[in-house]
Symmetry: C2
Subunit: 337 residues, 2 copies
Amino acid sequence: MSENRRFVLRRRPNGEPVPEDFELVTEPVPGIGEGQFLIRNHYASLDPAMRGWMDDAESYMPPIPLGDPVRASTIGVVAESKAEGFEPGQWVMGLNAIEDYSVGAVGGFTQPIDPQVVPSVTNYLSLFGAVGMTAYFGLFEVCKPREDGTVLVTGAAGAVGSIVGQLAKIRGCRAVGIAGDPEKCRRLTERYGFDAAIDYRGKDEEALTAAIAEAAPDGVDVIFENVGGVILDAGLNSLNMHARVGLCGLISEYNSTDRVGARNLWQLIVKRASITGLLVADYVARFPEGAEQMGKWASEGRIVIDEHIDEGIENAYGAFMRLFSGSNQGKMILKIA
Amino acid sequence: MSENRRFVLRRRPNGEPVPEDFELVTEPVPGIGEGQFLIRNHYASLDPAMRGWMDDAESYMPPIPLGDPVRASTIGVVAESKAEGFEPGQWVMGLNAIEDYSVGAVGGFTQPIDPQVVPSVTNYLSLFGAVGMTAYFGLFEVCKPREDGTVLVTGAAGAVGSIVGQLAKIRGCRAVGIAGDPEKCRRLTERYGFDAAIDYRGKDEEALTAAIAEAAPDGVDVIFENVGGVILDAGLNSLNMHARVGLCGLISEYNSTDRVGARNLWQLIVKRASITGLLVADYVARFPEGAEQMGKWASEGRIVIDEHIDEGIENAYGAFMRLFSGSNQGKMILKIA
């Protein structure tokens, strides 16, 4: 416990991040002050949203300062503490960074977790973390699907998307997923229980719109949107009256300097439909409610989660980039220790 | 009463309509069947939405068939009737076309109106017609402004926009309008009571965003959007948390073959904001309620309406095109007889 390896942001990526935008630096393990505690990070969550934090743009959080380690949700163990309620050996979860050691403080985002009550402690970064809570509150509170409706999920093989589809099925909806290759599409229907899956690759807006019409013969009442671009264009072509689009992410734009947005905006008037942005941070106070419900469904076998764990902080760049190449199968997690 | 001049759609406009897309034809006055009545049209409403009806695109109404007269709301007088409740001499309002005579039917969109209870019968095409009801229900039912909020109105010197601004002031909000020249901006503040007006001409997204920040120092809680394009881009940059954008129109796109849409869609996530399409047709059953309230405010001098009336069906093309050049001052109406 003398060194702290940190995956530092050196330069703001221009479009797609390249290895030179980052540097793995070694610093001394930081000291802690009164009310603080030292966290030995074991796992870091790798999420598409982190790409946005690397830009110098107005967002819901300040940009990661250049020279700072890349911000990430982590789980780890308290190594040292001058804070009440955080004893050494206690597992914790919080918004920290991709580094061996982070400093937490009472009243910050870091909370104790209990690894005994979950199949794997990493589930706190998937089903019971921001990912699961985004799916739960985004679908039920923002999109508000009705039992007899059809829910279209884009980025459906991703961590959030795969959960949204399963929640839509639990609610009684028809679930249609869009993903990026035949293998992923097979996973959507066979593993996650989607009623239909669409491979977007090689399809233009017209072909995608036709594929959605086939997969959703009664039209689309809810879109849980993670992607944007031509996939959102086709989704907006497919809406029923008073449909609701929950906008969770726009992964197709994160590595681009172009803004595409919602080109078929006119369809909102035609269908008196809405697009609403959603962010899981708004529901932090209700996480216990969401986690309890998710845990119940998971224990009943009604919801499954896949995690794709790459090992080693030295592999942080490659692991992160899987999110954009789509070479991960499940929630992307980096094992640090 | 032997001839029926009709302003016919000959060809679907490619971008901006040109005179050759239309033809003024003369046909015999149509006969009427049982349950029908003949309307002598006196005034036709000219609205941006009509441009959309000329395209062969999926919308909330079927396209105007080629060879048919251009669909429009009209007011006129029953000339002949085989329908109960519609006696000759009765003033009526309905969705008809730009032509001397239209055939109405019981159970259709045409309703009797009383010219005695309004300052001018043309007010049925402005304050008490689709325009006024769009402003009333669009603002109060879709955008739901709070008393202490700021409402940004785009296309604010237009027929709907000028009413929206006045309704926002009645509600107690700060009203900021965007329009296309200094004279219109002066009209916004001096005649319609907007707190501030922004001339969009010559301003790019950054300059517009800065102008909105100055005119709306507490940010924007509601946008009543009539325009789209760079004006919507700047509006989305200016939203407060949980802001609501009521999407009424996209006049900047109607004569374009490009779809621009909402490029700054990411801001919906940053601000957990929404864009909702609105169409006055959804509120037809509540028009009496809206008209009564508008009439009360008008009689108290709290709301004014300007009408720009061009004369002669032979001038239909030029009058319609004023909507896009912005050379009208007030609700655009064509006097037919």
